[in-house]
Symmetry: C2
Subunit: 130 residues, 2 copies
DNA sequence: GATAATCCTTCCAGTCACTGGAAGGTCAAG
DNA sequence: CTTGACCTTCCAGTGACTGGAAGGATTATC
């Protein structure tokens, strides 16, 4: 199947699929006319990539997961460890964002936001208060 | 003051400060020997940048905020609007991350993580279940 | 059969916000 | 007077794509 069809099936832009090939994540067959020819197994790999990327795994992590995916002798402990590390990162990011949210919402609440120049948001950013 | 001192005072790497100059965020004086010479006002601007960047504003947003910062005729409504937009983005990101967290923690909980190859995490990523 | 629209190819450049490193000039201490 | 820390510029790389140009292949329409 052509890249356009594979793109539709995998939910990834053709550009991204070619990029994944560039960096060695998959290598479809080629037809006589030079077109890439994706098998259903290729599409599975692409869907795998789409899902794991959207779950926040980096491309390098996806590469590891993908190699485990195709390895019937794999140990699930490896996969679980990668997922647990990623889970901890997500938790950390949520905490950070909540902190940002607290500071910013405080500032927004205290800014009258009218035509006057006084603005506690800028004061805070400048470090003039506290 | 030299860039090293400004770096310490602003809490930004010297590399980053030079980069900010490259993209036109500030332009310190130069000494006869070619060294950059930062005033305390420059350091204030740098601290402003450090704080607003760490609060999740993009460099372009920081540029806007910085121009309002130095503008005594500014209207705080502009600043408040930028901050509110950013606040909404942060909220959206938190929701997304919580969703990711839910999916991943479910998968981790269901993966026995021993030496056997069975692994619901990979099954999920492959789209084999559900 | 000609033509137009769509799809495919490769390659180069740009994004964002830095970061690393090389090559070389300047300055303060011992 | 040399060592080492600091400064300069410039070039290249990061991550994960994305945009676009130039050109070949295929498909649909007239």
């Amino acid at each position: 199947m052509n890249i356009g069809t594979a793109s539709d099936r995998a939910g990834l832009p053709a550009k991204t699929i070619r990029y994944y090939e560039d960096i060695g994540l998959l290598a479809p067959q080629r037809l006589d006319n030079g077109y890439r020819d994706y098998s259903t197994a290729d599409v599975h790999r692409l869907r795998f990539l789409q899902r794991s990327r959207s779950l926040g795994f980096s491309v390098e992590e996806c590469r590891q997961l993908l190699s485990l995916y195709g390895d019937s002798g794999r140990e699930s402990a490896e996969v679980k460890a990668i997922a647990e590390t990623k889970l901890a990162e997500i938790e950390r990011k949520i905490v950070e964002l909540k902190g940002l949210h607290g500071v910013l919402s405080h500032l927004v609440a205290n800014c009258h936001g009218d035509g006057r120049p006084e603005c506690p948001i800028l004061d805070e950013l400048a470090g003039e208060t506290h």
